[in-house]
């Protein structure tokens, strides 16, 4: 039966909710009118996860009654538990106890988000029993929804689930999503929906649009359709900067710039398999190379260039060359180190670069950074606006992604991936490990460096702090979260790492916790990343599996004792 595990997961869910809420996860407050709905959905998801976990632990499927009993138990325990706690805190606050000296987030407003009361009402101790009861019952019914969905998910076999995902309805739904979000974004930005404060919600829609494009592109395999939708998406992307306001474009260009950096790291880590923890150094080198040669205040420009800095376009070229050289110079000493040792040595390189930027005051400006970096210009037109930078970043992203795709599907890409899987064997296949590694470092570093140029001009003023260890970790995480070895994955990772923090800005305290939790959950539930390279997404297509099953029968009839294709592998 599902009663005991239901109670257990109810208590766990309550614990999670309580923890998040005292950390200041004020969902209703952040999202305004949609708050209760969002909380309900959150609740449903929680119940869903609990039930799926219960099923996995029990190693069997639940009947409808069991699923509903379990779901109701979980949500009721969590819902009434939360109501009780909120009521308790409300009482304490009304009695004048300073609860927020212990739980900093538990303010009268916090209670109010659950009870619908104003601050004054909470402080006055107006009874909220009915409101809390209503809240608990509402959340219990959300749990009921979760139970029904979970029953739908867990009761179908893997193949049926697969068939459902592959159904034409889902196919067209996935393709339709980018258009839906795009139109929605457009309507919102143009005020057609009547809303006023649209910056954040527009950004959410823009990010969703990008995500939907990535998912749709992955789903459409047919070449002609790919071309048609690909062109449609490209046109939409070209017009995207025209829709957004300055804030949205600023965030979007950050996403694009970090995608470029991520794609560079993806070459080093995702393809060639080298854990480079100081990768931000190449980004920094690109940014500083342009900054120091272009900013009118820079030591180099004043003393050697007669006050005339280089242009943005020259900066790109210089950065690509300097970046590639840096990649090689940093690469040579680590040719013979592998795995953990490589990570530690590269971590050191990152720190050295950071400290040099910080301490070579005379040249780099030290902690004061490089200021007044000129914007790009083309035929005298200033391209420094968020919109222009977004265009530049998208073009750069497209070029870099194109180059990476071609490299990956070539003898060079294959040698990277072979080396990642087994260095010794790669060597016996005639792959020169040293040059292969150096090529990966050089290309990855060059990508990061050109992204650095764009970043420098976007920021106008750059400081060593922009290139500290934390940023290195962020870029590493965005590549891993997105999916090692996949370009769509990296872009999605960049949406998550550059976009989400802006979206969650109102819930700043909650952001770090959420990120930590996201990382942990990702590594457990989906270690291959959100959008991993296609060949990892599923070992083998269902159709192929069926074909193999058929072959096995065929083989058996032929008395061919070929080992079962999907069965045990290797007794060696």
């Amino acid at each position: 039966m599902s009663i005991k595990p239901g109670i257990r997961y109810g208590i766990i869910s309550f614990g999670i909710l309580f923890y998040l809420s005292i950390l200041g996860l004020p969902l209703p407050r952040t999202l305004g009118g949609f708050g209760t709905l969002a909380l309900g959905l959150f609740w449903a998801v929680l119940v869903l996860i609990s039930l799926v976990t219960m099923r996995e632990t029990d190693q069997r499927r639940y009947t409808t009654i069991e699923a509903v009993t379990g779901g109701l138990l979980i949500s009721a325990i969590a819902g009434f538990g939360m109501a009780l706690v909120v009521g308790l805190f409300g009482r304490l606050i009304a009695d004048g106890v300073q609860v927020n000296t212990v739980f900093a987030q538990v303010l009268p407003e916090w209670v109010g988000t659950f009870t619908g009361q104003t601050k004054q009402e909470v402080q006055a101790g107006v009874s909220a029993t009915t409101a809390l009861l209503r809240f608990a019952l509402l959340m219990t019914s959300a749990g009921f929804l979760g139970a029904i969905v979970s029953r739908g998910l867990t009761h179908s076999s893997r193949e049926r689930w697969h068939d459902w995902i592959n159904s034409p309805f889902m196919y067209w739904l996935v393709i339709a999503m980018p258009f839906v979000f795009y139109v929605w974004y457009f309507a919102l930005a143009r005020g057609i929906l009547g809303a006023t404060n649209t910056s954040i919600s527009g950004l959410v829609l823009a990010c969703l649009f990008v995500t939907a494009v990535l998912v749709a592109l992955r789903r459409v395999r047919d070449k002609r359709r790919r071309l048609v939708f690909g062109i449609a998406f490209v046109v939409m992307l070209i017009l995207l900067p025209q829709i957004g306001d300055q804030f949205q474009n600023t965030v979007l260009n950050k996403i694009a710039i970090f995608s470029v950096v991520g794609i560079g790291l993806n070459i080093v880590l995702g393809y060639a398999g080298m854990l480079h923890l100081g990768y931000i150094a190449f980004f920094a080198v690109g940014a500083y190379a342009y900054g120091l040669l272009a900013s009118p205040d820079s030591y180099f420009v004043i003393n050697f260039m007669g006050g005339d800095g280089i242009t943005f376009w020259q900066g790109l070229l210089v950065a690509a060359i300097v970046g590639a050289l840096m990649g090689i110079i940093f690469g040579v000493p680590i040719l013979r180190t592998r795995g953990d040792y490589l990570a530690i040595v590269t971590l050191g390189f990152g720190q050295i670069t950071f400290l040099l930027l910080l301490n070579l005051r005379e040249f780099t400006g030290g902690p004061g950074g490089v200021l007044d970096i000129p914007p790009p210009t083309l035929f005298g037109v200033d391209l420094g606006s968020a919109e222009s930078i977004l265009y530049l970043a998208m073009i750069m992203l497209a070029v870099v992604a194109f180059m990476t795709l071609r490299l990956n599907d070539s003898r060079i890409g294959r040698s990277w991936r072979a080396m990642k899987e087994d260095e010794d064997v790669a060597a016996t296949m005639g792959i020169n490990l040293s040059t292969t590694k150096l090529v990966a470092f050089a290309i990855g570093a060059a990508f990061a460096a050109v992204a650095g140029v764009l970043y420098a001009t976007r920021q106008v003023n750059i400081f060593p702090d922009n290139f500290a260890l934390k940023q290195s970790i962020d870029i590493l995480s965005l590549v891993i979260i997105g999916g090692l070895g996949s370009i769509e994955g990296v872009v999605l990772g960049a949406v998550a790492f550059a976009g989400l923090p802006e979206i969650l800005r109102e819930a700043e305290n909650y952001r770090i916790v959420a990120f930590g939790a996201l990382l942990v959950a990702m590594m457990i539930l989906r270690p291959q990343g959100l959008l991993p390279p296609l060949e990892h997404e599923e070992d083998i297509d269902v159709s192929d599996r069926r074909q193999d099953a058929w072959l096995q029968i065929f083989d058996a009839e032929e008395d061919d004792q070929d080992s079962a294709e999907t069965g045990a592998t290797g007794t060696d």
Binding site: A426, M429, I431, D539, D544, Q561, S563, T566
Partner: protein, 263 residues
């Protein structure tokens, strides 16, 4: 002049003399097997030949070129390919890609020609694909066909071994080193593998040096057999000569043992 020669090859790991003054040769179009009990130093010989280890002493020549102590990738370029005792494929790459990796040293495309897809690079890739497909088809439809774009980890154990051989073939070697090609296979697969090894020589013209434990395979394929024990060569000759050699019987079965072939 023999195609391949090891002269007085020696390698010690600390106090253990893994390979001791070993001299042997392989002629063009010959299949030579190395046998010996566990720990006799057979795989160490392969590792020395393929450049994983540097020999302490001795010389290895291929086609008259001294290849002693060269790095692995140069040895492969000179024309020696190997398989591994415990199958070591690139499991997350497709079957086709595994074999294409074998073509690495036979192709040249650099970063810029790859990005620009120059006509020369395209031609080269088409050729590489054709070669790869040819090697895959050596094993009939087991590797080629609808399977070739699936990752290597979906393959059964026996097919993994076959793919490893196809991958080695794709480096276009003069000498193919097979480390226990039939290990872990069932009797039927073993027979098929023996047949394949013969075909490798007869149809594809490879010269083969194999380590094998299965005496049926050794007897079935070998022109010559070399027996090793404690890093030394203890016998060399035809299958019959070697298996009848008292030193070989002693190495396998101890001094009290009976005849090896009557087993």
């Amino acid at each position: 002049m023999p195609l391949f020669e090891c002269i007085e090859l020696s390698k010690a790991f600390g106090g253990l003399q893994a390979v001791d003054n070993l001299t042997f040769h392989v002629d063009q179009h010959e299949i030579v097997s190395i046998i010996g009990p566990n720990g006799a130093g057979k795989t160490t010989v392969f590792n020395l030949i393929s450049g994983f280890y540097r020999p302490d002493y001795g010389q290895i020549t291929l086609d008259g070129d001294d290849i002693t102590g060269l790095p692995s990738h140069l040895i492969t370029q000179k024309g020696i390919a190997r398989t591994f005792q415990n199958v070591r494929l690139f499991f997350n790459m497709s079957i086709m890609e595994n074999v294409l990796v074998g073509q690495h040293s036979r192709t040249k495309g650099g970063v810029f020609s790859v990005i620009l897809r120059t006509p020369g690079y395209k031609r080269e890739q088409e050729k590489a694909r054709a070669t790869a497909l040819k090697q895959l088809s050596f094993f009939g439809t087991r590797l080629a066909g609808y399977r070739q774009n699936q990752p290597a980890n979906v393959l059964s154990y026996a097919n993994r071994r076959r793919l490893e051989i196809a991958r080695a073939m794709a480096t276009e070697p003069k000498l193919l080193l097979l480390d226990e090609p039939a290990a872990g296979m069932n009797p039927k697969e073993t027979l098929e593998m023996a047949d394949n090894i013969r075909r490798l020589r007869d149809e594809r013209g490879f010269t083969i040096l194999a380590i094998e434990h299965d005496m049926k395979v050794v007897g079935g394929i070998s022109d010559r057999v070399i027996a090793m024990d404690y890093g030394k060569k203890i016998a060399e000759g035809s299958y019959k000569e070697v298996t009848d050699d008292p030193k070989v019987i002693e190495a396998y079965l101890g001094t009290q043992g009976g005849s090896f072939t009557s087993k």
